[in-house]
Symmetry: C2
Subunit: 188 residues, 2 copies
Amino acid sequence: MADSLTQVRPGGRSAKVRAAVHRAVAELLAEEEAETLTLPAVAARAGVHPTTLYRRWGSTAQLLNDVATSRFTDDLVVPDSGSLVGDLQRWLAEVATDVADPDTLALMRATIGSGPAGGCACVEDRHRQLGAIIRREQDRGGTALDVETAADFLLGPLYYRAIFTPEPASADWARTLVSTYLATLRTP
Amino acid sequence: MADSLTQVRPGGRSAKVRAAVHRAVAELLAEEEAETLTLPAVAARAGVHPTTLYRRWGSTAQLLNDVATSRFTDDLVVPDSGSLVGDLQRWLAEVATDVADPDTLALMRATIGSGPAGGCACVEDRHRQLGAIIRREQDRGGTALDVETAADFLLGPLYYRAIFTPEPASADWARTLVSTYLATLRTP
């Protein structure tokens, strides 16, 4: 019963199993094509009984969503540089560096491939971070940006390059993207 | 020998096998999670011996790339409305409508999940179409746009919404995106 979902204790057996399984997913993705990522393969690598994985995650898609949500949550501190352009440039440059990492890209691709909810799990926290940056600028008395539109023009090109082109975006490119986007707001 | 790669005749046995296999992939993607898409499963659905698929495509990733390349090639006619804004709006609205189709999305997700080249197979022809629209505007004596930058700002937000958010972009939204993008070019 120690790994039942109703008895999760931080640092307990359940947390250890989760950590071992998440690590196994990362290792397998770094080695192989996504098509070989099955729950039995992850269980074997993690040294956990397959039944535990089926009971806890149900499917590869749900496991990948869990790994992606955990991987892409709270790993970026929202910067406070004193200005909107500074905050956005520092944040988007960090997102670009993260997304250009081959292991990150492999996890994103596999998660997207696992089902309709996969892509959302990769970027939900990015939208929250962008929202926090935009709210802080409003608190300073600055421009009130729409979070969804800002995501379209900042995260859109960046994730498009990572997933749909041979070359992910660089941190420098991300900073230029922020300047270009903010310039459009001054268009009459 | 009839289906050997060296003896491909249009309309011959090789073309029939390819059509049956492509159809089987589309059917399986419409029904199931991508994780169940294996070469034996596709072979069974297409009524083709699995050996034929392994010999011809080698892996699920290569088969999905072939299906995506064929699916996303030449299916959109590049419009000639007489103006850049008109051409881009008609084209991007068609891309948006196509990408919002659940079967298209399922194929895109599976192809992205199958490996690094997957995303590129989905959009290579879109870049060519965008290039053709931009060259035609230059021939008219109009603005010389950079194809990659235009792709970042037009295809970027559109594919980002489709893959990373719960709601794909609509044709109306795509037309607005074109107007917003062209307005940025008039920024000093």
